[in-house]
Symmetry: C2
Subunit: 115 residues, 2 copies
């Protein structure tokens, strides 16, 4: 993964995963697959599992163990009330940052004519 992307994901990846979970509960392996579908093709499995442990310890999700037909039992995560609060704050913080950076971009003429 690119150095820049790795750093940018800090703080956003958690929000991204919470946003995925607000749609429907999911388990780690599944979440990793969803991330890849959504363009985050290079996010390591280990990263996702570590993040899930973290949001569970923070109390943002409820966990249920569900047997799988083809492998070890799945840990299904669902967003709880506290998780929804955190997600709402994430959107607010993200919105603020994206706005400020957007302003900067219109000022910066470096990229004009590119792409």
């Amino acid at each position: 993964m690119g150095r820049q992307m790795t750093e940018m994901l800090k703080g956003t990846l958690e929000g991204i995963v919470l946003a995925l979970l607000v749609g429907a509960p999911a388990y780690g392996y599944e979440i990793t697959a969803q991330l890849r579908e959504r363009g985050f093709t290079e996010i390591a499995e280990g990263t996702v599992y570590a993040l899930l442990v973290r949001i569970e310890q923070k109390g943002l999700v409820d966990v249920e163990k569900v047997p799988s037909e083809k492998g070890p039992p799945r840990k299904v995560y669902s967003l709880n009330a506290q998780g929804r609060v955190e997600l709402a704050e994430f959107w607010k913080t993200w919105g603020f940052l994206a706005d400020r950076i957007g302003e900067l971009h219109t000022t910066d003429t470096t990229t004009e004519g590119e792409n």
Copy 2:
């Protein structure tokens, strides 16, 4: 500063500062002030200076020491060719991330009706 914002700034703050420098060369104290003007009111001085040391060591900026009327000499940073490349990559990476997250936001109905 909020926990979420602190984490989100990782990877973006460098790009933000590079974008400020593309407009005109500036020194640390000045950059801190510009950041505050642009809404980043809570960014610590120490953070900015540390970042400047970093981008200098990466070779993204040229530095010139200029005497000040009211205090220690200023270290004026100007974006060089390599810095412009890095900035262009920053905008690309940011654009990608912002697009993906934008897609997620339209899917996520949590925030509808708020604000």
